[in-house]
Each structure stands twice: as structure tokens, then as C-alpha cells.
């Protein structure tokens, strides 16, 4: 099956999807679902939720594939759809309704060693443990690379709120990463 995916070039798959060919849609899904699920996992609280988001993402991709202009990366285009769909999903289910600026966030000392010891799955789990507001802003800023101004427009919040939500998210993540280091150390001692 993977061989079959490899045989088809991206352009061919897109062309097939434009023709609404189910086989090409399936191949496209096979090729990109793992990447896009990793995106939606970061916005969701668990895998079933992430798969719901991914399902909507693919429906949008297939229904609007003609709007892809072949100028940029196709994967990037789908990633953006996944991000927007996830945010829409969270908003629709009222996980992100209001966010307020947080007054102060203390600074942590960040243990980079501990970070590098963590697997991507663990990091995703830590991100999932964040509340939807922190999680969304963190993902948009840190992973997707949006600026706080863009995030503010996207989520209809102020720039300051975006910054403070990110700072808070960062603080929590740092704390948890540092804690994981301690736990690893305790494990080694035991």
C-alpha cells in the first residue's frame, strides 16, 4: 500500500482529488493523515478529539482543493487548514470563548537537558494538559510561528492577552519539563 502512495506524485494526487477520485483521496489521506493528526493533537485534549478535528480538516481539504494554487507547499496549505479547523472546532465547542490578559507570570529556570530527554509524545501530552486558551496560543506562536498580532486577530483577543497567555503556557510547560527531570532523577536513584 505504501508503495502505491510513493508511486503517485503529489501533483498527481492533487489532480486526482480535483477529479474527486476516491482512490486519490484515500492515498492523500494515507500520506498526510499522520502529519496532520500530529497538528490537531496539539490543539485537542486527546486523540479522539484530535481525530474529529482531522476528519473535518480532510473534508475541507477535499471539498476546497481547487482553491490550492500550487504556489506554496501543499502540506503547508493543509497544515493551515488543520490549524484553522482545530481553532474553529474549539470555538464551536466553546473551549475557547474568552481569554483575558494575565497580570504577572513568574520566571522559571528552564532545564534544557530535561527538554531534550523528553519524547515528542510526552511534549504533546504536556501541551494537551494545558487549558484550551494557553494551548491554542502556545501552538500558534511556538509551533505555527504566528506573531502575537496575528494570533490576536485570529482569536479576537488583544495582543497583550496573547502574550500573557503564551507566557503562562510557557511557565507551566517549563515547570512540567523541569519536574520530569526530577522524576527521571528519582527513578535513577530508586
Amino acid at each position: 500500500m505504501n508503495k502505491e502512495i510513493a508511486i503517485q506524485s503529489e501533483a498527481e494526487l492533487i489532480r486526482g482529488c480535483l477529479q474527486r477520485e476516491r482512490k486519490c483521496q484515500w492515498l492523500l489521506y494515507q500520506r498526510y493523515a499522520p502529519v496532520l493528526l500530529s497538528v490537531t493533537m496539539r490543539y485537542a485534549v486527546d486523540k479522539p478529539q484530535a481525530e474529529d478535528m482531522l476528519q473535518e480538516t480532510f473534508i475541507k481539504v477535499f471539498n476546497h482543493i481547487e482553491s490550492f494554487r500550487s504556489e506554496g507547499s501543499f502540506e503547508g496549505w493543509m497544515r493551515r487548514i488543520a490549524v484553522h479547523t482545530s481553532i474553529e472546532w474549539l470555538r464551536k465547542h466553546q473551549f475557547i470563548s474568552q481569554m483575558a490578559e494575565i497580570e504577572t507570570t513568574p520566571l522559571n529556570q528552564f532545564q534544557e537537558d530535561a527538554f531534550h530527554k523528553l519524547a515528542a509524545d510526552d511534549l504533546i501530552r504536556m501541551i494537551q494538559d494545558l487549558s484550551p486558551g494557553y494551548r491554542t496560543v502556545f501552538n500558534l506562536y511556538a509551533i505555527e510561528g504566528y506573531t502575537h498580532r496575528e494570533i490576536a486577530e485570529m482569536l479576537n483577543i488583544s495582543e497583550g492577552t496573547s502574550k500573557s497567555q503564551f507566557a503562562r503556557a510557557r511557565y507551566i510547560l517549563e515547570k512540567r519539563i523541569n519536574q520530569s527531570q526530577k522524576i527521571n532523577y528519582a527513578a535513577a536513584v530508586l
Binding site: 476516491r22 486523540k47 528552564f110 510526552d122 511534549l123 510561528g145 497567555q165 519536574q179
Partner: protein, 403 residues
């Protein structure tokens, strides 16, 4: 070189580098769901997830109405209350360990997290850690999950809200259940923003018991025509019972009732030559007021563990009783001499230190500027020459019990 502080950009880059190429395999039925959507026949999504969510909801509902569900260590949930319907029993039994194993055959860290957040059991088995000690690996897993949940409040900036949380941790040998109150600390801005009485700064009601001790001061007086008179103001005491409501993290309104007792001593020396000699008298007036303060407080620090608040308010005072002592001759002040009502504005600054999660020590200083309550008394004694605008400067200390 090892760095301890990263810029936001560097911190973001670390995550980006690690997660950009990360992939997660979807479950096998996802494509069929998408296909159904494309065909226009929507399949029920995530049936297992649905059951789990329903189960979770039912369990929470059961807890709220007082049912108890016992869980044994053989990965089975049993309901002891016979009133629970078979549907509920089925739903709960669906969420047992075998269901988890079925859904997550290879239990990775992320799957475990998903299972933990999805599958819920309620246990009356208290000593989670006794079981945990049997398996160090499990202990570490649990610690990893529990560390920041079970941690007591570090400061009062934590949300006072608690949520009941049930987690299960499983391996082949043990089925370990954590049933704990989760202190929602810093990671729930939705609660913070949407639920009015939950806030880092103890939003919601509080009660403050306190005492003030202060001196009257005169801002103005004039004894030009009566140079022999000197006035000395003794300390007054105020005991307060006040309750307040935090409207936001920074702003609170407070009202209550206070009792005030004060004393004014003065020595009058009458130099009226018509009487041919100096007449020296020691006078003292003692009076008691009931007060009803209304104040608004503004938290400067935005922090509740160590708070500094500015306070501005209005105090209405009502005369209760009073007596005058002149050269040891005591008599009650005639009521018509007293201004019954007094109005005051107050300004103060108050600091607070958290003693426990729900109790703070408050201390501060305040000054109130009153409409004169003594004018009519003094008019009798001091020939109405005396128009003081008294000011009460007080040091306050109290305990605040808050939500």
C-alpha cells in the same frame, strides 16, 4: 553552553524543532468516517469515545447524587447501589480496563494519557500510594501525572476552585486508581475568565474581623478667644465586622458594621475676669458610635499572597451613647447636644499576608475625616468658638476569612 533563561523565540524553536516532523497514526476507522462524510452519510463518530464520555458524565452524575462505585483491583467496576439502572451499569462496565486495553493495545505515554483522561473509575479505596509502592515504574508514571495536580496551593494566587478528578493507571499486575480533588491552579483560563467567583485573587466573598486603634487629630481649631483651653484627644477603639465581595482580581467592595468608642479630654481654663479668678476644669467626653462603612478597595499588587490595597470609603456613624465627665462629676450628655449622625470619608492603605489558603492577616492604616460630632457639645463648653474638623487616624489589624 547550558542556558537557564531562554527568549520566547528560542523556547518556541525548541518545541518547533521537536514537533514539526512528528507524526501520529490515526485509528483505522477514521478514513471510513471521512468517506461517509464525503458521501453525505455521516457515521457516528468515535463510538468508543462517545461511550467513555457518556460514562464519565454518568459517573460524575452518580457522584453528585451520592452514589458510590467500588472498583476492585481486577480491572472491573461494580456498582454497589441496586438503584442504579442496568444501563448505567453497562456504561460503566464498558469503561473498564479491558475496554482501555482494547482501544489502546500498545500503551504508549500519550495513549496512557488519553486513557487516563477518558476512562474514569470512582474508588473508595483510599491509599493509592500503598498500592503504588508495589510497582516503582507505576509510581513514576503516577508521579508524573499527579505531580502538578496534587500539589497543594503554592500561593493564594491559585484558583480556589476544585474539581473532582478520577484517574486510572494500569499495568498488567495492578489497576491503580487515583481519586482526588484536583486543585485547578494555573492552567484554566476559562474558569478564570468565565466563572465570576473563581479567581487568583480569591474572588467572591470574604469576611473581615478587625480592630482599629487610633487618635483623633484636629485639622482646624481656634481657641484664640479662649487661650486657656487645651484639648487632648485620647485613643479611640473601633471593632469591625465587615464583609466584602471581590468584583475582580483587583477591585473589591466592602461593607459591614463597626462599633466605635472614643474619648475627648480637654482642660479648660476660663480666664473670664468677670469672675475674678481663673477657673480650671478637666473635661472628658466619652461617646460610642455605631458605624456602617462602605469602601472600595483596589489591589495594587494583583497578587493575593502579599497584597497591598488602597481603600477609599464612606462611613456613616450613628451616636449611641455618651457621657461627660467634668472634674470627676459625671453626667450623661443630653441628647440634644449631640449630633446624631456623622459622615466621614476615609482613605487607607492595607496590606495582607496569606496565613492559609482561606485566611489572611490584614493590617494597615487609615484616616477618616468626619463631619464634626462635637460641635454642639463644644458650643456649650467652649462658647461655640471651636469648630473642629476631627480626623481619626487609625492603625488597623484584622483577620480575613475568604473563599
Amino acid at each position: 553552553m547550558r542556558r537557564l533563561f531562554f527568549s520566547d523565540t528560542d523556547f518556541a524553536r525548541l518545541f518547533r524543532d521537536k514537533l514539526r516532523s512528528h507524526k501520529v497514526q490515526p485509528t483505522s476507522n477514521l478514513w471510513s468516517r471521512i468517506e461517509s462524510d464525503l458521501n453525505g452519510t455521516k457515521k457516528v463518530r468515535n463510538r468508543k469515545g462517545g461511550i467513555l464520555i457518556v460514562t464519565g458524565t454518568i459517573i460524575i452524575a452518580l457522584v453528585s447524587i451520592g452514589y458510590f462505585v467500588e472498583t476492585n483491583l481486577k480491572h472491573e467496576a461494580q456498582i454497589t447501589n441496586s438503584n442504579v439502572t442496568s444501563d448505567i451499569i453497562n456504561a460503566i462496565n464498558h469503561s473498564n480496563q479491558s475496554a482501555v486495553n482494547k482501544q489502546y493495545p500498545a500503551v504508549t505515554e500519550s495513549d496512557r494519557a488519553t486513557a487516563i483522561s477518558s476512562v474514569t473509575h470512582i474508588s473508595k479505596q483510599e491509599p493509592v500510594f500503598i498500592q503504588l509502592e508495589e510497582d516503582i515504574g507505576e509510581l513514576l508514571d503516577v508521579s508524573q501525572n499527579m505531580d502538578y495536580r496534587k500539589k497543594p496551593n503554592e500561593t493564594l494566587t491559585s484558583l480556589p476552585f476544585r474539581s473532582l478528578r478520577f484517574n486510572t493507571f494500569n499495568n498488567q499486575a495492578n489497576h491503580i486508581i487515583e481519586t482526588s480533588y484536583r486543585q485547578v491552579v494555573e492552567d484554566n483560563p476559562l474558569l478564570l475568565n468565565n466563572t465570576a467567583p473563581t479567581n487568583a485573587c480569591n474572588m467572591g466573598w470574604y469576611v473581615q474581623l478587625g480592630a482599629s486603634y487610633g487618635y483623633y487629630r484636629l485639622l482646624t481649631n481656634s481657641f484664640h478667644n479662649n487661650p486657656g483651653t487645651s484639648v487632648k484627644f485620647s485613643p479611640g477603639y473601633v471593632t469591625t465586622f465587615q464583609f466584602g465581595y471581590r468584583l475582580s482580581k483587583r477591585i473589591a467592595i466592602q461593607t459591614g458594621i463597626s462599633g466605635m468608642r472614643a474619648e475627648v479630654n480637654y482642660e479648660s481654663v476660663n480666664k473670664n475676669k468677670r469672675f475674678g479668678s481663673l477657673v480650671k476644669r478637666d473635661n472628658s467626653i466619652q461617646f460610642t458610635y455605631a458605624q456602617c462603612p462602605l469602601s472600595i478597595k483596589y489591589n495594587l499588587t494583583g497578587d493575593c499572597k502579599r497584597t497591598i490595597e488602597l481603600q477609599a470609603g464612606y462611613v456613616f456613624s450613628r451616636y449611641i451613647s455618651g457621657k461627660s465627665i467634668i472634674n470627676t462629676l459625671t453626667y450623661n450628655i443630653e441628647e440634644q447636644d449631640i449630633k446624631k449622625n456623622q459622615h466621614a470619608v476615609t482613605l487607607g492603605i492595607e496590606a495582607g499576608s496569606a496565613l492559609t489558603q482561606n485566611l489572611s492577616l490584614r493590617y494597615g492604616i487609615s484616616a477618616s475625616c468626619n463631619t464634626s460630632m462635637l460641635t454642639s457639645i463644644e458650643s456649650e463648653r467652649l462658647n461655640d468658638l471651636y469648630r473642629p474638623v476631627p480626623m481619626f487616624i487609625a492603625a488597623n489589624i484584622g483577620l480575613q476569612l475568604h473563599k
